[in-house]
Amino acid sequence: MKRTELIVYFLIVAFLLAAYFFFPKPLNFSAAVSIIIVIIMALAFILVFVRTIQGHFIGRRMVFVFVGVALLLPFFMQFKLPLQISPEVRSAYDALVNLPPGSRVLASYDYDPPSAPELQPMADAFIKYCFDHDLKVIIMGLWPQGPQQANLSIEAAFRENPPLRNNIKYGVDYVNLGFQSGNEFVILRMGESFKAMFPTDLYNTPYDSIPLLKNIRNYSNVDMSFNFSAGRPGAVEWVQVAVDRYGLRIASCNTAVQAPQVYPYLESGQLLGLLGGMSGAAEFEDLTGKAGKASTYILSQSFAHVVVILFIIIGNVAFFREKRTKVD
């Protein structure tokens, strides 16, 4: 190991330990400090711009530092930015609002921890809304990690509103069917019978002895479905099989990587609504009135986007200057 490397590691560890023992908790920047930080960052970018134009591209690790700072510092800032609700998020929310109390909603958790920062806020807001409005939730997962992420949302709902712990009953108000392998073949088989794919729930209780599932045989007995999707299997498979073959009504919550590919289904009416990425999550939290993680993340997200855009602009200005000098 090189000496510089050791020094870098040492500095990072020292900083973290200092943060752990000496920093105020929670750490909040005042408005003045926040503005000063923004100005310093802007100045740093001007410096990068000048250096790049002169032909000295800054190193990869420097870029990493910029991104890290842009993502981290807004966590401690107190800016509140207004949010515009996009039509696809509103229509997903409207579909949920229009369900009468007692309606049955199928929630498929098709994601794993790496996508949780985007999808967990949506799932949490969804579960909280359902519990508050007496909507019955049937949880399942096409990804093995899904049911565990669902447990986290339920726990979050109970933590926020402790009386729910007594009022919301497992097996009556919600049920967790667990994970089943087979991707789209699971969706296909459920069109015939839920029980065939989930003979028991997660806790090995037989399907027929769960009160909530008494009158549910297949998709025709659920009123709507929400799908939290991070890839394959996910939103695309639900549309292709459950919507187009069995007429399930579904709103989709996607990671931002997947969302653009799902938009055509929205315009064609195969989806009732669409929540895409962190912005979709923040807007949904805004609509349901349950400010959660996404509402705090969106500020950092803004900074990060600006940083990426500035880097693209700086890089391209340098590129065009270089091209022009070559032509000359």
Binding site: G102, K169, G171, S209, N215, S220
Partner: protein, 407 residues
């Protein structure tokens, strides 16, 4: 010996559940207590216009019941509708399903084929406190029936799809057959492929090597297959120019196949001795490990030309960035929609989705690929005409868009 141990441990694993015990069903999940303290005028009027029919286009296990909501539904006096079924008009009726207030239909999916059933709907109103029903009133509709579930031999709602898929598959088979018979098909120029010779030539001039990265998926991915086909052609051009081509791969199966293909390309141009086995080598299966290793190779070897063709995921941008930063000519191609933007932004030429498959057909002249391409093009032509004519008809108020959707 290792095989034996694995079998033993597997059998053990499979047998484990035999020792598990059955759990008794949890019957204490609900306890409904009906109180008699019913407020006045809380009983909803019964539903009207009850009708039932066999659910069409199914395997005969379902009956659809339709009704008009109770006149008191809008006033919030209906909590839910209960669907009751019996084998005789006088009963006994049992609950087969429920629907929320405001709903007007229910599919009874537990009907047995050919058995005559009778149905009625009960409009229910109740109050719940802490999940306990404190009071409940209901009024029942008239009985309807008998009605039987029947199975259909063909799903009439999907007839249009049947015709369309038959035409598409028929034309693909026809064109494959024609191509096998030696018919030539025209394929348009594809920018990235046209540039292959120049890109290889540049490497020859500079005296540096060419890198060909076939993606991170295994041989069961069609994109990898297409990539290997293109590799054969690129390797032949490289061998002709006596320029070294390196193929770092992330799957052992891909390594074996790619080695064969490159070796053959060298033999074809008459330089079988120039081929060295280590030109095609396996790095690691791990996604980021592979990306990091390629990164290092690019920085050390500084190849003049880089091909990134195949199935790529998140590692695409790490590779494209490094290739770009060392000033290589990069020709990329993938059918992963999420990775295409990064290739377009960071590489000189990009084969977009289908273009990559077309390129492999174009280069290999394999009848099955050429025929498929031609068949797909025919379908595209039909679709293009459909959109064009459809938009005009639709604009004049003639609804044709339903022709393309199943019921």
């Amino acid at each position: 010996m290792k095989g034996f141990t694995t079998i033993i441990s597997l059998v053990f694993l499979m047998a484990l559940p035999l020792f598990a015990q059955e759990t008794p069903p949890d019957s204490a999940l609900v306890g409904a207590a009906v109180d008699t303290l019913v407020p006045a005028e809380s009983r909803p009027a019964p539903v009207g216009q009850l009708s039932a029919e066999d659910t069409p286009n199914d395997d005969g296990e379902s009956i659809t019941i339709n009704w008009m909501v109770s006149p008191d539904d809008a006033a919030g006096k209906v909590a839910e509708y209960k669907v009751m079924r019996a084998l005789a008009p006088e009963g006994p009726f049992e609950e087969v399903g429920d629907a929320g207030s405001g709903q007007t239909s229910y599919s009874d999916n537990r009907a047995e084929r050919g058995v005559p059933y009778y149905y009625k709907i009960a409009a229910l109103n109740y109050k719940k406190v802490d999940n306990q029903i404190t009071w409940q009133v209901s009024s029942e509709s008239a009985v309807i029936g008998p009605i039987m579930a029947t199975a259909q031999w063909i799903n009439m709602g999907r007839l249009n799809i049947l015709i369309a898929i038959l035409i598409l598959n028929g034309s693909i088979i026809y064109f494959i057959w024609a191509a096998k018979g030696g018919r030539q098909f025209y394929i348009r120029k594809i920018a990235g492929i046209e540039e292959v010779e120049n890109a290889v030539g540049r490497a020859t001039e500079m005296g540096r090597s060419i890198y060909y990265v076939p993606g991170i998926n295994d041989m069961d991915d069609v994109q990898t297959l297409a990539s290997i086909t293109i590799l054969g052609k690129v390797a032949a051009i490289a061998a002709e120019n006596d320029t070294r081509i390196d193929v770092p791969v992330s799957r052992s199966m891909v390594m074996v196949t790619a080695r064969e293909v490159v070796k053959e390309a060298y033999s074809k141009v008459g330089r079988p001795d120039s081929f060295q086995e280590d030109q095609v080598r396996y790095l690691t299966d791990d996604q980021f490990g592979y990306a990091a290793a390629i990164d290092g190779l690019f920085l050390r070897e500084r190849p003049a030309t880089i091909f990134l063709i195949g199935s790529f995921y998140a590692e695409s941008l790490i590779m494209a960035e490094t290739g770009n930063s060392i000033g290589s000519i990069q020709i990329a191609g993938t059918a992963q929609p999420a990775q295409l933007p990064f290739f377009v932004a960071a590489c000189d030429y990009t084969l977009i989705g289908e273009e990559m498959f077309a390129a492999s057909a174009y280069l290999s002249r394999e009848p099955k690929l050429l025929g498929s391409l031609k068949g797909q093009d025919l379908a595209k032509a039909v679709f293009l005409i459909a959109i064009f004519v459809g938009v005009i008809l639709e604009s004049f108020g003639i609804d044709v868009s339903n022709l393309f959707t199943a019921e």
